[in-house]
């Protein structure tokens, strides 16, 4: 295998690792601005991670090995996902490892391990968080799959790079089915990344928290990995969104220095815009009661299915 | 109207008598006279057999006439009378279907029987083909009697007169069955009545009555 793609692959992963916390910071900053608060430093997530890595790990006595392995696995899956999703370039070595469906499976793996780890210590909040996380998951996952289905039906493939390449090649027109799925995807993204209105990353209020509840027993480096992983997850979802709905600017054909050097700034732009948009949504919408989350996700599912139907109807006609 | 030979007329008279008798049995409620009627039936049957024997000159018919006389006129009635005395059952209770109703049904049955006998009658070469219909009628009437009676005893008499009907049928259709069969049938009837005798005593000692409503326990209506 030639060296170029490998380097590109490595570059993509590194960019992801580096950019993920930054993106999170950016979103928080935008939210602060929109809320007329003085924004924290955009680098705050880095500081957090660094700080956590230096602390002593405190673990419950009855925690099993699973509890300690889980952070690494979750982190690993997220990094792998970052390597597969064409954020900078398609046609990368890792791409063959998994198509879009496998990618969804990858996220599911992360979620399952996260939940298992949360149940391991056997505290009230851990199990509660795990349950809620799985609930959100089993509703979000099909919606995400439907979104991908529509894209794959349009481009006759389930390989993400191929999809985005195909979509990018298409004439720039508004495709109604894609529009529906875009909405669905946004909702899924909010839910999966524990953002308002499904969850609130900023609070530890028992009754409402989902994602945070699962991390309660973690500390130090394990917590750091978990935080980093969730930042990566947000980043990954954003990149999937880009690949599906604004696929332009990804170095589809040539993964030489030129293409990449062109792709990086484009990605930065997209991230900035997405972060802004995300912040806006989070600011204007209110946190839902946990039991309302299913309805929220059902809407997402509905949108995705509508997109599917629209596609088949118009495509069939 | 063609001329009918004398003994032929006699035979027809016998047939008519048999029919009359079974109607009489159908309406009779006194068990003693029921048995008597049965005996008379036997007499008529014997007469008919003798007539046929005389006419056809079939040797074995004389024998079966004898058999009939011995069994159905002498032995069975005697046995039944004895049982009646020993068991003290003289009256049958009100039949399930009242007399007039029974009679009406009987008439219908006779009509049906004649209709039934048509194909046979056409074929029969015997001199008394018309009697076949009567034989069937006798059988079915006996059947009806068994259905409508409530006392074991009268049911048995019905059973026996049914056998009479069969015998008469055999006579009128085919001048009787082969000897070996005749004997077998007679034997069976004999044994049957003996068994019945045993039966009556068993039933009596259990229920001290021969009323059939004691014998209605085994059913699916739990």
């Amino acid at each position: 295998m030639r060296l170029g793609p490998l380097i590109a692959q490595a570059l993509e992963i590194i960019v992801a690792l580096a950019a993920a916390p930054l993106f999170l910071g950016w979103v928080n900053q935008c939210r602060a601005w929109l809320a007329n608060r003085s924004a924290p430093s955009i680098l705050l997530p880095y500081h957090n991670i660094r700080k956590l890595f230096h602390k002593d790990a405190v673990i419950a006595e009855n925690a099993s090995a699973l509890f300690r392995i889980a952070p690494y696995i979750v982190f690993g899956t997220m990094v792998l996902a970052a390597g597969i999703i064409p954020s900078l370039a398609g046609r990368l070595p890792l791409v063959v490892a998994a198509d879009a469906i496998a990618l969804v499976g990858l996220f599911a793996t992360a979620r399952v391990f996260l939940s298992l780890a949360a149940m391991d210590v056997g505290t009230a909040f851990g199990t509660l968080g795990a349950r809620r996380e799985m609930m959100v998951g089993f509703l979000a996952e099909p919606a995400l799959l439907m979104v991908i289905f529509v894209a794959s039906l349009i481009s006759a493939t389930t390989a993400l790079p191929a999809i985005s390449a195909h979509l990018a090649a298409e004439r720039l027109g508004i495709d109604p089915s894609l529009a529906f799925t875009a909405v669905a995807f946004t909702l899924v993204l909010l839910a999966e990344n524990a953002r308002i209105p499904v969850d609130n990353p900023a609070t530890h209020l028992e009754l409402t928290m989902i994602h945070e509840a699962m991390l309660l027993e973690y500390s130090a480096r394990h917590l750091a990995l978990m935080e980093w992983a969730s930042a990566l997850r947000l980043f990954n979802y954003a990149c999937i969104g880009f690949a599906l709905f604004v696929p332009w600017g990804i170095a589809a054909r040539d993964i030489g220095p030129l293409g990449l050097s062109l792709a990086v700034p484009v990605l930065a732009l997209k991230l900035a815009a997405a972060g802004g948009g995300l912040a806006v949504i989070e600011t204007v919408s209110a946190k839902l009661r946990v039991m309302r989350a299913p309805e929220f996700l059902a809407t997402a599912f509905l949108f995705a299915v509508l997109g599917l139907l629209v596609h088949v109807l118009l495509g069939g006609a | 109207m063609t001329h009918v030979p004398f003994n032929q007329q006699l035979l027809n008279v016998c047939a008519a008598l048999l029919l009359l008798l079974s109607f009489a049995m159908l309406s009779q409620r006194r068990i003693v006279s029921l048995v008597n009627l049965f005996a008379v039936q036997g007499v008529v049957l014997t007469a008919a057999t003798l007539l046929i024997a005389w006419r056809t000159g079939e040797g074995h018919l004389y024998f079966s006439a004898l058999l009939t006389l011995a069994l159905k006129v002498a032995f069975l009635p005697w046995l039944l009378h004895r049982l009646i005395r020993r068991l003290g059952v003289y009256w049958d209770t009100e039949p399930l279907l009242n007399i007039s109703g029974t009679m009406l049904t009987g008439i219908l049955i006779v009509v049906f029987a004649f209709g039934l006998a048509q194909p046979i009658t056409h074929l029969a070469s015997t001199s008394m083909r018309n009697a076949i219909g009567i034989a069937v009628a006798v059988v079915l009437l006996a059947f009806l009697m068994m259905i409508t009676r409530r006392k074991a005893m009268s049911q048995v008499v019905g059973f026996l007169s049914m056998e009479n009907g069969l015998f008469f049928g055999a006579m009128s259709a085919t001048y009787g069955m082969p000897m070996v069969v005749e004997l077998g049938v007679a034997l069976d009837v004999l044994v049957a009545v003996l068994v019945l005798g045993v039966f009556f005593f068993q039933i009596r000692e259990q229920f001290d009555s021969l009323d059939l409503h004691h014998l209605e326990r085994l059913s699916e209506r739990q």
């Binding site: 419950a60 149940m119 056997g122 799985m134 996952e141 099909p142 389930t158 390989a159 | 068994m146 259905i147």
Partner: protein
């Protein structure tokens, strides 16, 4: 003929016979656990391995042989046949049986209620009868094997016959099995098409009119569906599986359900030959409903074996979805896609055999160690029984359909084949089928939910009962059994390309078109010419590499100091086991979302209860809606008829009289 030189068929036959022999040998010393309960079962496991090997060889060498045994009916001796289809399922049978028997050798004690020898007999007759079902090439041999399978497994299910529920479960099981068998029998009766030959060859040759063929197909679907547990014919399954001893549950769920799949494929694609495309919609619809129904019920169960039983129903649903898709594709003339769908079916059958057996055996170990089947009284066993916990985790993750394990592969294939549904040249169908994909996706996600509940509540958290402290890990033989099945799961997960190329002859036999070949030995692609791929090996290696790298970096740069304290739990004081979610609690979201599925009766505590208690009974609507009315109807009819026989002799005489008169009238009339 073939008998002279050794042949795969002869080998398989000999091995199946060997099972029978082992079973009979069990009666020699029925009371001895070491002989009948241990040695013979190990022997049986070896036979299973042998069978798997022979079948695999037959599959690879691609032989198709037939032979006739001097048994059976005079006109219809036992015909046997070994072809690609049967050898795949024989492989499944052998491999699964090997693991289960190995486990059983360590599992069965004489506390099972029946003498070990008898158990050994029933167990091995069960295995042998399944072998006969897979080998049979005529209706009679097939039905003999089929019913024998039901019978032997019935005795196994009712091993603990002193418990009334178990007797009831056994009764329902055998009743459903028998009714199903009757349906299959009639289907064969149609298939022989007037040629009084009941050999499958004759049925292949026979020409059946479309109407009759449809009848045969529906009857077969009824019969095999009843065995496989398609909703609404599933009622026996969640009763029988928990009732049986765990190894038997493993066989029932892992292998026996697959014989129904085998039968369905055999009848539809082999004997009927040319299925009409719309037939496929029936199993497809039933499958979709079954899958959703099963997984939703699994999510709310509190008995771990019932949970697995319902999850089996779900998987059967997925399998039949594949069959339905295959029929549709084949019917509209897309053999390649039909091959893909059937491939998903076959692959999922193999997967489910491995993972569900594994999980049931796991529950068996838990049951022996704790004596508890109720999830509400388990927990924290990962500390007490690490082996079982570790091996079961593999099964659970596989069943949850997570890459890179095997469950995901078949799910992936199924979704891929759904992706082509829009090319079907039938209006509406191509519109509706993609919605099926949505249901499949939902089921897959719910399966993950169920598995997290299953594993988390049993093995993680704190023990909910003090008695669990004495739980012990399973013995060596049991570990071997579990390990073997786990290994099978991993292999199926990591080497899909090889498995698929091995399955190619089957799809070629069924649809005339080969299954998709991998682009490379490590790369899986559903159909040639599509830029789609899944490479579990790369996937796993890359993932592992990243994880290891992370671990190393962390070890390299940061200190390893760790303090152990009590759980923090957001600052609550004492953390008691009762604070954890119970099984009911974990199922609660599902219960709310899918309320319409269940017939729920609740007993909620009021705020003023001195000793507040919470009880909830979730039962199957279908049972009340479908089966109880039928039973009532039969009972009422019987009561009505009973009037006929009211004990009066005159009435009886009247019957005779009436019969006589009526018949005479009939004769006169004609």
């Amino acid at each position: 003929m073939i008998a002279s030189l050794p042949s795969p068929l002869t080998d398989c036959l000999a091995l199946v016979a060997a099972w029978l022999a082992i079973g009979v040998a069990g009666l020699a010393r029925p009371r001895s656990v070491r002989y009948a309960g241990r040695a013979l079962f190990v022997l049986g496991a070896l036979v299973g391995l042998g069978l798997a090997a022979a079948a695999a060889w037959a599959l690879v060498s691609g032989v198709t042989e037939t032979r006739v045994l001097p048994l059976g009916l005079p006109e219809l001796p036992f015909h046997l046949r070994l072809d690609a289809l049967s050898s795949v399922f024989l492989l499944l049978l052998g491999a699964a049986a090997a693991g289960v028997s190995l486990f059983s050798a360590g599992y069965f004690r004489d506390s099972e209620g029946v003498a070990p020898g008898l158990l050994c007999l029933q167990y091995h007759v069960f295995l042998a009868s399944m072998g006969l079902v897979l080998l049979a090439d005529d209706a009679y041999a097939y039905m003999v094997g089929w019913e024998l399978m039901a019978l032997s497994s019935y005795f196994l299910v009712t091993t603990q016959h002193r418990i009334a529920e178990i007797r009831r479960a056994g009764f329902i099981y055998l009743l459903m099995a028998h009714l199903g068998a009757l349906a299959i029998l009639l289907s064969f009766g149609i298939l022989q098409g007037g040629s009084w030959q009941f050999t499958f060859d004759a049925m292949r040759a026979a020409h059946v009119s479309p109407a009759w063929a449809t009848g045969a197909f529906l009857l077969a679907l009824l019969g095999f569906g009843a065995k496989a547990g398609l909703v609404p014919l599933h009622v026996w399954l969640p009763e029988a599986h928990p009732a049986a001893p765990s190894p038997v549950s493993a066989l029932l769920s892992g292998v026996m359900l697959k014989t129904a799949v085998y039968g369905m494929l055999r009848v539809t694609f082999d004997l009927l030959g040319h299925p009409l495309w719309w037939w496929g919609l029936v199993p497809l619809a039933m499958g979709l409903f079954t899958a959703l129904y099963g997984v939703v019920f699994a999510a709310v169960q509190t008995d771990m074996k019932r949970l697995l039983a319902y999850s089996s129903i779900e998987n059967v649903g997925l399998i039949f979805i594949g069959i339905g898709l295959g029929i549709v594709f084949f019917g509209v003339g897309m053999p390649a896609l039909a091959a893909l769908a059937l491939l998903a079916t076959l692959y999922h059958s193999l997967n489910h055999a491995a993972m569900k057996s594994l999980l049931f055996l796991g529950t068996g170990s838990v049951l022996h160690a704790t004596g508890q089947r109720n999830l509400g009284r388990l927990g924290g066993l990962i500390h007490r029984m690490p082996w079982v916990a570790a091996l079961t985790l593999i099964g659970a993750l596989a069943l949850a359909g997570l890459p890179p394990l095997n469950g995901f592969v078949s799910e992936w294939l199924l979704l891929q084949s759904f992706l082509f549904a829009d090319e079907i040249p039938r209006a509406f169908v191509n519109l509706l089928l993609p919605l099926g994909a949505a249901v499949v996706a939902l089921c897959a996600a719910l399966a993950a939910y169920v598995m997290v509940k299953f594993y988390g509540v049993i093995f993680l958290g704190q023990p909910r009962e003090s008695s669990l402290a004495h739980a012990h890990d399973c013995g060596l033989l049991e570990r071997l059994g579990l390990g073997w099945l786990a290994a099978v799961c991993l292999t199926l997960g990591l080497a899909p390309v090889q498995v698929i190329s091995a399955l190619a002859p089957v799809t070629r036999q069924l649809t005339g078109s080969a299954a998709p070949q991998g682009a490379a030995w490590w790369l899986l692609a559903p159909v040639p010419g599509r830029a789609v791929s899944y490479a579990p090996l790369v996937f796993l290696l890359a993932g592992a590499a990243i994880v290891v790298l992370t671990v190393l970096l962390v070890r390299l740069f940061y200190h390893q100091r760790i303090r152990r304290t009590r759980p923090w739990d957001c600052g609550f004081g004492e953390v008691s086991p009762r604070m954890q979610d119970t099984a009911e609690g974990f199922g609660q979201p599902i219960r709310n979302i899918f309320q319409s599925f269940f017939a729920i009766e609740r007993e909620l505590p009021t705020p003023f209860d001195a000793a507040p208690r919470y009880r909830i009974v979730i039962s199957d609507r279908i049972w009340r809606a479908l089966y109880e009315p039928v039973a009532d109807w039969v009972r009422r009819l019987a009561d009505a008829l009973a009037v006929l026989q009211q004990g009066r002799i005159s009435a009886y005489l009247l019957y005779s009289f009436a019969t006589l008169v009526i018949l005479l009238a009939v004769v006169l009339a004609t």
